[in-house]
Amino acid sequence: MRDNLRMIVFVVVLGIVLSAVIFAVNSFTAPRIAKNDELTTKRTILDAHAISYQESDLETVFSQDITVVKTADKTYYALKNGDIAFEFNGSGLWGPIRGVISLKSDLQSIKRIVVIHQEETAGLGGRLAERKYLSSFDGKKFAPTILILNRRRAAGDTEVDGISGATLTSKAFEKLLNEQVAEYLRGYGG
């Protein structure tokens, strides 16, 4: 009985001490981590708008070129010429896919897609995040939806080739893009 009590007391005390240490480290690093995340977002938005920048003038370029438009629940990053970009979020085949898409001022044509996070099969669906694949979306149109095809070759403005061997990832990505773009455009008053 005494042994059990000693064990419990020891574990509880150790737990409290270590939690306090972690709490201290966390409150020290949290602002820096938040800042890093913010910079990552800014970098991605600029990438999606195909604006070149130096690491040192990232924030100046961002604040000069990008107008942040906030609605009730969405954030848009607009250029002066009417191009917009926004973050998309949704599920792929195995896990969440997150990224940024930019549209030209007609709010239909894709300027660029950047994928920040994905958990698809490496070498198959995972190739989704590669520039080489994503650039095949450049210039395609949501009219009103886009098709990602694995059964035949894509033809025309609204079709893109899927990734071979990753039909389900391609399908999930298609659904995700169409839903998110429609939702964001509704919110933008389009």
């Binding site: 042994d3 000693r6 064990m7 020891f10 574990v11 150790l14 737990g15 270590l18 939690s19 240490v21 972690i22 480290v25 966390n26 690093t29 820096r32 981590i33 890093n36 990552t40 490496a122 070498g123």
Partner: protein, 218 residues
């Protein structure tokens, strides 16, 4: 002169020397114990990742060894594994936050592998085998030696894999223009090829007899 030689010779009989020698070469955690495989296979594709994990791992190992060793007479025997886990995971979280705050690029590249330090058998092995039975100084020395042993193995593997798989070292191009990357070496299967060759070479050099590793090989 012979006096210095004698001093050096005497040094090789000290306990510290034996701790260093066994961890760094004779009872190497990777070559001999085949421990820490998850990290060894997972993060040995780029030199930068290997260095970051090597340093983070050594740090966690040294501080947990010191903590466990200092508390070794207080730790209730039945709860010791849980206590190892609590201490290890706390320090791993600290390393994780630190990397995210100051080296976000490396933190992103390492992803889940930082958290996987928690489950590394090298840590559990050293704590159970050594820190629970020895004083703080010896435990820290042992942990440092184990960490460095693990780190240099990662470094060797990653230099080989990054050179052949990506044609770079620390992301600097070192191969001539005509070089074609052996992509497979940089990917997961390549880790197995390179590691098995590494084990073969180091085990032969260290004269490890698999038959005598009874506790490890049945």
């Amino acid at each position: 002169m012979s006096n210095v030689g004698l001093q050096l010779k005497r040094l090789t009989y000290t306990r510290s020397y034996r701790i260093l020698r066994s961890n760094l070469w004779k009872d190497h955690p990777v070559s001999c114990g085949v421990l820490g495989m998850c990290l060894t296979l997972g993060v040995s594709n780029k030199v930068a990742n290997a260095i970051a994990i090597g340093i983070g791992f050594t740090f966690v190992l040294v501080v947990t060894a010191a903590t466990i060793s200092a508390l070794r007479n207080l730790i209730p025997k039945r709860a010791r594994v849980i206590i190892y886990m609590i201490v290890i995971s706390s320090f791993v979280i600290i390393v994780d936050r630190f990397l995210k705050a100051f080296f976000p690029g490396i933190a992103e590249a390492l992803g889940p592998y930082i958290g996987l330090i928690i489950t590394s058998c090298i840590l559990m092995g050293r704590l159970e085998e050594f820190s629970m039975k020895n004083n703080v100084f010896s435990s820290m020395l042992d942990a440092l030696a184990s960490g460095v042993a693990f780190g240099y193995t990662l470094l060797i593997l990653s230099v080989i894999r990054e050179f052949f798989g990506f044609g770079t070292i620390l992301d600097i191009k070192v191969t001539p223009a005509w070089w074609t990357n052996w992509v497979v070496i940089g990917m997961a299967p390549g880790a197995f090829f390179v590691l098995s060759i590494y084990l073969w070479v180091t085990r032969t050099l260290a004269k490890v007899d698999p038959q005598k590793l009874g506790h490890l090989h049945g």
